[in-house]
Homo-oligomer: 634 residues x 2
């Protein structure tokens, strides 16, 4: 937060025009108040608690890359990441929103003031290579660490964080499916961050149903393809951060089958690359316009026109969706993290406001009699609201890291069975994290905004930006309804339900072990009840969804949220266990933190988790009522 | 909805600059698709069904003003209102959002293109006087009719509808509390719409806690007062629609007690009024700046500076809050209606899109095999989402009209006991309508936006504007947390719980009468269960909230929503009863509508109402966990 004179100094950091916009737009002192700007402090301590104490991260040092990052080094890296996020990215978050991106008559696009210099700082810090393949210049550290850094950056500046975020997704797809030649040409530059990446799927008439896509690829004599078509909603499609942009594009090779079985993946550079690695001619792929969006204004979301642009096949012909799924799965986890990230930063600002804003008196008598009124954090409904966000944030963070660790195990373990078990849970949890964390994360930004009353609705306090930015995460990378269908229609029954049985086994094992313990029963018994709801729902789908798929689809959204609540409940039970153990052992100066964990866990069990009963009831209502009404009667 | 060439013609209606902005902003044809703009069709039929068949409106023709408006006349008036809303207000809704209001160096404010001409059409149509006192030029028709017109206008253009909406609230306050002289001077012009009104409560440091307000009033020799201070978030505070603006302002007379007991209400005209009724000098009350808001850009939300502005006392000195409550209560119902209104218009557009957008195939086999894909309305999760909005809209509309009718009875009945009984229920339901209808209305705009995928996030389709506009309704006129406290802390226990006992009696009477009927049990039994939850929650408050008010406050928000669900469930049961009766009697060509009512009622009972169980569980969890955590540990 900035007080007024600091704010003046802050404005001077920017180009005169930006400073003017910022100053004028904010009109910071017109109420004669001290001035606030949204602030952010990266939750390094909570992250370390989860990694060290809840997930026992050190146990995994047999995985490649893990021994290079013992916990004290991870803590140091996160400290550096926190500095970058708090000091460089947070201050330009509102500027990005206010200025947005601009497209120029030559089809070039400029990003908001200071976005480029922040990106240069990021690249110089080596952040882009953190978790990528050492063979191409990466540092090969755990993906779990990357997930944390992603959370921090997305809290500090979601629109900015999308530029490197997409690059990492594109790297993952190329790493898995591209030929050695393509890898050699593109990966080193993308890993160092000199070039960014994009994913081009959506067309005007299709997003979810990619089988309809029309962009075509015509084989050329030299083995390349000429790509022609229009893609929309392309995040970071054109910008001024880097000298080159590498597009991963879905298109149909001339003569290929219709539907999803005729789609191939291509790599299409903005600037052609000469054989010596230098940049060559401009490829005819251009930004036709910038979308006018509700939020994430700092990210250039483009209509991209491919007019015979030269591209190369990635992976097998007609197997493009398969290759793109590598990028999409990674992106889906990243989007779920965005939901958590916006919830976290909105929460931090709401807490600060609730401690500062004086309004009314505590029902039990004045808490601050020397002041004209009490800070609003004394009011039960304000506390209820804030606790519901906090209880989500700390469970969601644990769930993200639990799942990210599965990803590391799935990719890095030398034990086949261990890899498969981890991959099962990763696949199962990916739609849950994408769908539930973005829905609840968005709701939390709305709740946090509500704490500000009218001040939350005006731009100056920055709270409404969090709401507008968070909203996209429910939509892109597969709208949340699609995540629910992926979970229920694909992940649940795969391999005879192996993944969900493994999850049920893990959670019920924990419950059995701890339900009789005095200090744990208040946390474990509600979880037991909700796990039972989830198991009943799963059983109901098996009995009623196979013969009539509408029954499964009509209950899919509720099932996804029921699953998310149980998974978060399990994360709280795990955290409560650690907190109890630490308090018993003396807590080492962290008594407050451990008590906070126990109280927040209890709040989650009492007020958030019971919602699973309503989900079960809706699921077992079945599809009849939902399907009965003729379309004309809506 | 407009196709492309109609859109060009549409653009030509506006000033060249506006047309250019509109055209350029929309870039309607860049995807080569037909072009859509949000559309709106006022739900006249559903409203008439509720008035005629559910509420038996004709029974009330003993109330003053009601016999002037038999149902066929009401239907004709609503038809005219629909034309105005659909033809004049809807087309300028997005323009209002894009252009916003502009403040000029002379402190004047201009509204968006065509807002003024729409206002003139409204005034010429005599709409502003519809329900106001005939002694001052009004038509004296039922308030219930005004509530319907308010819904239509708020769906069509919420930002625009706020200008006349605030005038009507100011008229109500003056009507009840002002001296005959003040009424004579202000009411005729305000009722005809020549002057608009505002309400000035909030100051930079206080909104909810008005006891802290600092604006001062110094008595002058002529009986007037000089008002000095700063008010913020003043909707319609300054604009170019009318020649004068009448501000109702809360201020503290010099020497008055501190806190809420020293607040008085003043009427402060922008332009002084000469004794012959003509406009005189400019009063020193000016717009200091326009707020930069998340939405309702078309309404000028102002910082108003009072620099010794001349005002006159309304009602008794130091009893200003009491007088302002007349305006606030009317405004709270109006804000609840805004929640419904945005949900309705968002729903209509989402349904149109869901029938048009082709993506994927029905799970039971292609529904439109001749097309490349099926319209997304075949998918269970899309239907579930749309039905949840529809089930809210039609129940919320019935609840608004049920409550508005109570307001008419409370103000117009000649029977004291009938007046009191109606006033009890009006007071009880006002915070529920404000809090629940705006929360659920906002959530529904988000759900409707979600149906559009990425197209919902870009401005062209207009869906994100509904979300941004609807958001304010949860905040202003008392943030929804305050509504919950009003309900639980003031309305519930008043007069020994007379109001809620009367509500319980009415609903349980209906349940008893119909629970054994075959065609009704599916609708009545779930209501019975949820009413029981609400009664248990009420009982729990009586046993645990009186001795420890934190228990009541911690559960207040859940109680408000539990109450709202039961009230809407009751509205659905009433509608199902009518639909069953009509189908039995032959339905007179309305078979589809009545079947739709029964199916939607069933959906509400199966999938919306069961949430009361979770609310009850949270309420009875009590305040301990909520209050336990020290402020520093948040």
């Amino acid at each position: 937060m900035f007080v007024r004179k600091e704010f003046k100094a802050f404005c001077r950091m920017f180009k005169p025009k930006t400073a003017y916009i910022l100053w004028q737009h904010a009109q910071m002192d017109r109420y004669g108040r001290e001035v606030y700007m949204p602030s952010y402090k990266a939750p390094v301590d909570d992250t370390m608690f989860i990694l060290r104490d809840v997930l026992n991260f050190e146990r995994y040092d047999n995985l490649s890359g893990f021994s290079d990052a013992p916990l004290d080094m991870i803590e140091a890296i996160l400290g550096e990441s926190a500095k970058f996020c708090e000091g460089v990215l947070t201050p330009i978050n509102r500027i990005g929103d206010m200025e947005g991106c601009k497209r120029h008559p030559d089809n070039s696009v400029s990003t908001p003031d200071s976005f480029k210099s922040a990106y240069q700082t990021y690249v110089q810090g080596g952040w882009n290579g953190l978790t990528t393949d050492p063979d191409y210049g990466g540092q090969g550290l755990p993906y779990t660490l990357g997930a944390v850094v992603n959370e921090f950056m997305s809290s500090a500046n979601m629109a900015w964080a999308m530029y490197p975020g997409l690059t990492l997704g594109a790297i993952a797809a190329l790493q898995t499916h591209a030929s050695p030649d393509i890898k050699r040409i593109y990966l080193p530059k993308m890993i160092e961050g000199t070039w960014t990446g994009t994913m081009n799927l959506t067309e005007p008439h299709c997003g979810t149903d990619l089988g309809l896509l029309k962009t075509k690829a015509v084989p050329e004599a030299d083995g390349s393809y000429a790509i022609t078509g229009q893609k929309i909603f392309i995040s970071a499609g054109e910008h001024d951060l880097t000298e080159n942009i590498i597009h991963l594009v879905l298109a149909r090779i001339e003569g290929a089958p219709s539907g999803t079985k005729g789609i191939s993946l291509f790599v299409v550079p903005k600037m052609m690359i000469n054989s010596d690695g230098s940049l060559g001619a401009r490829n005819p792929v251009t930004c036709g316009s910038i979308e006018h969006k509700m939020g994430i204004h700092g990210n250039s979301t483009c209509v991209m026109n491919y007019d015979g642009a030269i591209g190369w096949l990635v992976g097998e012909a007609n197997r493009g969706l398969n290759a793109m799924f590598v990028m999409m799965n990674e992106a889906r986890l990243g989007v779920g993290i965005q939901g958590l990230a916006q919830s976290e930063v909105a929460y931090q600002n709401a807490v600060a406001y609730a401690k500062d804003r004086l309004q009314g008196r505590a029902l039990t008598g004045a808490a601050s009699p020397e002041k004209p009124a009490d800070p609003i954090i004394v009011h039960p409904d304000v506390r209820r609201t804030l606790l519901s966000i906090k209880a989500f944030n700390e469970a969601a963070r644990a769930l993200v890291l639990w799942t990210a660790l599965k990803s590391d195990i799935a990719h890095r373990s030398e034990d086949v069975a261990e890899r498969q078990a981890a991959d099962d849970l990763l696949g199962l949890m990916t739609p849950v994290i994408k769908g539930v964390l973005t829905d609840m994360g968005f709701d939390n930004t709305v709740k946090a905004q509500q704490m500000f009353g009218g001040h939350g609705y005006v731009a100056e306090w920055g709270m409404e930006q969090f709401v507008r930015d968070a909203r996209i995460a429910q939509i892109y990378e597969g709208a949340n309804g699609i995540q629910a269908l992926d979970l229920v229609g694909r992940k649940l029954g795969r391999d005879g339900g192996r993944a969900i049985m493994s999850f049920f086994g893990e959670v019920s094992g924990f419950i059995k072990e701890h339900e009789a313990t005095d200090t744990m029963s208040a946390h474990v018994l509600p979880l037991k009840k909700s796990l039972d709801h989830l198991q009943q729902a799963t059983m109901w789908f098996m009995q009623n969804g196979l013969s009539k798929p509408d029954n499964a689809a009509a209950g899919s959204y509720d099932f996804m949220h029921c699953f998310g609540l149980v998974a978060m409940g399990y994360m709280w039970a795990l955290q409560a266990k650690v907190a109890n153990d630490k308090l018993k052992a003396g807590a080492n100066g962290a008594t407050d933190n451990m008590n906070s964990k126990l109280m927040t866990a209890r709040f989650f069990m009492e007020r958030v988790l019971p919602e699973t009963a309503a989900h079960l009831q809706r699921i077992t209502a079945g599809a009849d009522t939902v399907m009965a009404m003729p379309a004309d009667m809506f």
